[in-house]
Subunit: 414 residues, 2 copies
């Protein structure tokens, strides 16, 4: 097993000004070829911080990938630090990179400053990984049996160089690489602890080569990730584990192939050539926004009446004012009337309606904040259900919308 540390360099990460996406990209790419990332670090643009991070990382890993700190200005000090660390006193010019730098400056219509040209000068202890999309080259140092790779911090430049890194890593570590396999089983509708209880026996019976993780999320439900780090027969072990889980969880599983809930719903609607509309109250457009987030949404999604005010529920969706008066807007009768009204008005196969209390105010002992009624009107029947969640306003809206999407999925499956 080849172990790696990823270290991203830049003050802007440490003050929270940018969210580092490079580490995640690198981790996913390395995983695919069987390199395990054991730690991710971010440090500032300071020589001592970089030096210590390199030193500590090489103690726990075979491969260290650094990003950032390779720009042309004085605060970019990664290259000189790595030169000193690897004991290089001399630099050489990469003529290939120099050509790219000239080319880029020409395209930008600016003159070639020496601070740009000198980015092609690299320590003699490294080989160059050419950067065709930017001025700073990647650098590969083989040092005391370990490998240090330094890449620019601009994501698309880093990603552009990365195939060269993968190639070099595969060549260098060929004998020790065995691929890591991950599969995700996405479930919806069972809270994490109840899910753990339900699958406890299955979990206990998992072969020791497999590792299970729970990943709960308001919009995605609980995803279960099975990983196998010793790939010999791992794919088959995971497949078997998934197959034995299916009868336990049934339709609570919405994907075993990395699809999101909305992707699954969109695929079902496409497959059945069915159309859908929404009649939202408390979700305030969030459900519509999810349904229209997919390319090609216009083939299944017709529109929505967003009836935030009760007057709109009556006037546009035809909800009876007596019903609103007696049962209230957050009730089975109201959401069913909304769904049927929307289905009729917008002439779709399915209609999804929501009415609830997102908070922070508006709750009562009988209908606390977090309560929602959801109805799905289909070609044959209209089904409805109540949920009570415990979150803040925005999380409640997310949970309401995801629960509605899941009810739509189950209705189409029926």
């Amino acid at each position: 097993m080849v172990k790696s540390v990823v270290c991203t360099i830049g003050d802007e990460i440490l003050i929270g000004q940018i969210t580092d996406s490079n580490a995640g990209f690198i981790a996913r790419e390395l995983n695919k070829i069987g390199v395990m990332v054991v730690q991710i670090r971010s440090v500032g643009d300071r020589q001592d911080a970089i030096w210590e991070a390199v030193d500590a990382s090489l103690k726990e890993a075979d491969l260290l990938i650094l990003t950032g700190g390779l720009g042309p200005t004085r605060d970019d000090i990664t290259k000189n630090t790595l030169a000193r660390y690897t004991g290089s006193s001399r630099f050489y010019c990469s003529t290939a990179q120099e050509a790219h730098i000239r080319d880029i400056c020409e395209k930008r219509g600016g003159r070639l400053f020496e601070i740009n040209r000198s980015q092609a000068d690299v320590p003699e202890t490294c080989t160059v990984l050419e950067n065709k999309l930017g001025t700073a080259p990647g650098m590969w140092f083989a040092y005391q049996g370990k490998v240090i790779v330094s890449l620019p911090g601009v994501p698309y430049e880093m990603e552009g160089i990365f195939p060269l890194v993968i190639q070099a890593v595969q060549q260098h570590f060929s004998s020790s690489l065995s691929p890591i396999i991950h599969r995700t089983i996405a479930t919806f509708g069972i809270p994490e602890s109840a899910l753990a209880h339900k699958i406890a026996d299955w979990e206990t019976a998992l072969p020791p080569e497999l590792h299970l993780a729970y990943l709960p999320n308001p919009l995605s439900g609980v995803r279960l990730r099975l990983s196998c780090y010793d790939a010999h027969g791992g794919a088959l072990l995971i497949e078997q584990a998934i197959n034995s889980l299916k009868p336990i969880l049934g339709s609570a599983i919405y994907s075993t192939h990395n699809q999101s809930l909305i992707e699954v719903v969109a695929a079902l609607l496409h497959q059945k050539r069915a159309t859908v509309c929404t009649a939202e109250s408390c979700t305030g457009g969030k459900l519509a926004a999810l349904l229209t987030s997919q390319a090609g949404a216009s083939s299944y999604y017709m529109g929505s009446v967003l009836a935030y005010d009760n007057r709109i529920k009556e006037e546009l969706l035809g909800v009876d004012s007596q019903l609103l008066h007696h049962a209230g807007a957050v009730s089975r009768d109201c959401v069913e009337a909304m769904a049927k009204g929307g289905q009729k008005l917008l002439r779709t196969d399915y209609a999804v309606a929501t009415s609830g209390i997102a908070g922070p105010s508006g709750g009562s002992p009988e209908k606390p904040v977090g309560t929602v009624w959801i109805a799905v009107a289909g070609p044959q029947i209209c089904s409805s259900q109540k949920f009570v969640f415990a979150g803040n306003r925005l999380i409640n809206i997310d949970r309401f919308a995801a629960a509605a999407l899941n009810m739509l999925r189950l209705s189409i499956l029926d």
Copy 2:
């Protein structure tokens, strides 16, 4: 200067399955009270990895903030690791947290499993930071002159507890904290490079104590952050700089007090006691979702007709079919008709309509992907404008919705 390390825990980060946003949030919050983050680390759900990260972090920092690994399932091991690290052999039950857990399980209508209840049991070496939004409490360990804080990894739970962390850090480290002052000037409608050009003279004239950063974002426009690290008189310097910027940017500035665009629009609507509805096409509910994201939205927001399909534009909003045929759905005439139709149907003071091409398909040479027409119908006049953005589908939808919100803001100000 108080130094801090942030350490996020979870295999899902190391395999690149999720992008860690907790570290950035924590860094920004700590910065505000004068705590400097010197390193960010991510490690997996393994006792040795967590142990070593804690050990190494306490060597370089006074404060270590950990997130993640506090869930109820077997792969969550942070709590036990910290108990062992701080030499605690006994646990006690936080009755306050236990009450939250009971409350949450009750609301969800599920039974209280022991694995949930036991989340209230914490090492005797810590004090509890109550988590009202989830089952896992935060924990504060004062250990050998340093502080270790452990928080749940679910972002909104972590963010919900964080004010307690800030309070405790300020109390614990009071004598060593010197605040860093940041003020943000939020602008909308001027692209970053044009903005930089427009304020170049102002930027050059800034006093040397002030540092300027540009923070562009599809939903927020470009925010300018002024920072002063030596707080002596810094607040006044920043105030003066903001005052001299106002005449240069005029109504392009929507906030100098950390309000989001929707917060500003909601405040304006409240202040004018005005109501609004939306008639969305390409934004697919995103604009409505923004308008209803605020607590108390029901006092100004009435509802929406989401006319994704042209038939709905005609039938519900009364857009003329000849108009749709000749000018097309993405046109000034169409969005103005949609806005006026929505305003009439839903009887509101203002109505905002959008029609455009979010992509990836549907573009043409005359109307490329990223084109949007937006109209705002007000009590007196209806104004409309075309924008062309260059992003992917989801970024375009965000930009369209934010541009519509900004047009609404300007209409109300008029």
